[in-house]
Amino acid sequence: MAKIELLAPAGNLEKAKIALMYGADAVYVGGKAFSLRARASNFNIPEIKELVEFAHERNKKVYVTMNIIPHENDFTGLDEYLKDLEDVNVDAIIVSSLYIMKRAKEISPKLEVHVSTQKSTTNIDTINYYKEKGATRVVLAREVSMDEMIHISQNTDVELEVFIHGGMCSSYSGHCVLSNHMTNRDANRGGCAHSCRWNYSLVKNGEILPKTYNIGSKDLMAVEYIPALIDAGIASLKIEGRMKSVYYLACVVRAYRMLIDKYYETGVLKPDYVNYIISEIGKAENRITNVGFFKGIPDSDGQLYDNRSEIPTQEYAAFVLEYDKELQMALVEQRNYLVVNDQIEVFGPNLSSNYLQIEKMIDFDTNEEFEIARHPLQKFWINMPIEVSYGDLIRVIKK
């Protein structure tokens, strides 16, 4: 059986490369057309080409989302776009529209077709329907439980993709148009206003109840279900979040990479190791998480009430640009407040965690020493006794 795929989101080229460097087997990205997440800085064809080459050199894959539910005037340029994606060797497209699926089979037969979670697929008969239409993979609805996934996997030869981490629609995906009616923003064409995360009042028999009412769900984190998903023969484990930061992607992808590899190596995941992975994810995760539908229909613990979901995380301090071996200094770009004498952790795609203290910071432009890095994207040198490289990350250890 092929090793399970770790599939990461990417809102731009830098994020996509970081996700692949940190252990993703594949990334999914939005193009300039036909993609949800209208606000993500989506890819043009040359960027997709560059990403595909970067990925294929590393024996990894690139999927392009075309999962809007299109209206009549959204089809302009569809054939050319499909052909372009095929020409730059994209591995698969992720679709919702049956017509786009059909057209892809006709115009760009080398492109694999994956059915988006927007179709909320919950049963084998529906999976088989998409197979007949030419799909090779179906992204299951996030409402499918672990037991249901096992049953489905045992009864189909279609590849199954499952969300394991990130934001969740509170509704069956594709079946929510709250945003359309409340804001005129079409949720199924990339304009979702996340109306399910807003505050509401509940009115019972005409009387407004005193406290805030919410329908939003906590984010998903399925760390504890990874062994079961691997054992069930699921093809791909998907992380949500094309809008997320480089730091978030690096941390979350790296954590799941370690977890998956550990399970393949040892056949078991000890509780201490699972807790370690959860703590690693926790260094980047800024939302309250839950296991979603994995253990069945969520009770009140699966919902967000009263509080906003974000937990501020300020640990991420800097992104490594290059390393001067002779001087043992790293050129970094600031992401968050960093002060001389801070204890830091440095880690990267090929670098396990190292801990040290900041002794010196020198501004890249003025060549002057300074004490506090407070400007976003400021470039400066820091002392670095261990060899680091582009893409490594620095975070401050909380006191």
Partner: protein, 278 residues
């Protein structure tokens, strides 16, 4: 074809319609009132005596463990004329000549319509369309539109009312619930059954527009009282017969209920930041 959703079995007497949409427990999602399958069967037999048709609502989203019971219910009610569904698993249980695909959000263009139509007798097109977009479907045989009523705009497998009351450590009692967003005034009905549904606020209607639209029209009655349903069905039937849709427009406008035109004349905005909340 004018079809009315049955929220009261007395509607059997309604003579102004060509048929009825009726729902039952376990398989129906879009109808507001569900009846025991035995009652539905009796209703079907009586409707057939009146030479009208019955469409069974099977619009739930089905998980594998639901399918055996769903099949039993469909077999039990196999005298219905059509089955309206959204979950593709239903295709294995119902022959093409009885299938009506209820697209919810999924059929928003003619290309997808054509593909879906090949496998169904009728297709109810998505109601979140502009008038111009809806008009295009008039050229298609087998297109069905929602002419009046409210529908699910949110469908969750989560139990969002009982979960909330559990969190608040308060007992959850059945009742009529609505939600109001903090910066808006509209009240959206919210109903918990196997999951939770939120419905459009007020009653959407097509009237003057109908002269340019499909005449396969579904009237969704939600919680309207019997007398009002009868009046509305009568108004639509008369308009179709006489072609006087302006009169229908006037009647519905003056009807003592909240009505709206949904997204018919709204321009959809696809990116954030273009229009602020509120």
């Amino acid at each position: 074809m004018l079809i009315v959703e049955v929220n009261d079995l007395k509607l059997l007497k309604c003579i102004d319609t060509d048929g009825f949409l009726i729902g039952t427990d376990k398989i129906s999602s879009e109808v507001f009132v569900k009846f025991p399958k035995e009652k539905v069967l009796e209703f079907v037999k009586e409707v057939h005596q009146n030479k009208k048709i019955v469409i069974l609502d099977a619009t739930n989203i089905f998980h594998d463990q639901d399918l055996a019971e769903t099949k039993e219910i469909l077999d039990y009610l196999n005298e219905v004329d059509f089955v309206m569904y959204n979950d593709l698993a239903i295709m294995n249980m119902v022959p093409i000549e009885k299938r009506i695909y209820y697209s919810t959000t999924y059929v928003t263009n003619l290309y997808d319509f054509d593909i879906v139509k090949e496998e169904n007798t009728y297709v109810v097109v998505s109601p979140e369309l502009s008038f111009e977009e809806l008009k295009a479907f008039n050229q298609k045989d087998g297109s069905f539109i929602i002419g009046f009523g409210t529908w699910e705009i949110f469908h969750s497998r989560r139990r969002l009312l009982s979960n909330y009351f559990k969190y608040r450590k308060t007992d959850y009692f059945n009742g009529r619930y609505h939600i109001i967003e903090e910066f808006r005034n509209e009240m959206y009905p919210i109903v918990e059954d196997e999951g939770t549904k939120i419905y459009l606020n007020g009653y959407y209607y097509l009237a003057s527009e109908l002269k340019e639209l499909s005449k396969n029209i579904l009237l969704k009655t939600f919680d309207l009282e019997y007398e009002n349903v009868v009046k509305i069905v009568h108004a639509y039937n008369e308009a179709i017969i006489n072609g006087d849709y302006e009169k229908l427009e006037k009647i519905i406008k003056e009807f003592p209920i909240d009505t709206n035109k949904g997204l018919l004349y709204e321009e959809s905005i696809l990116t954030k930041g273009v229009k602020e909340r509120g």
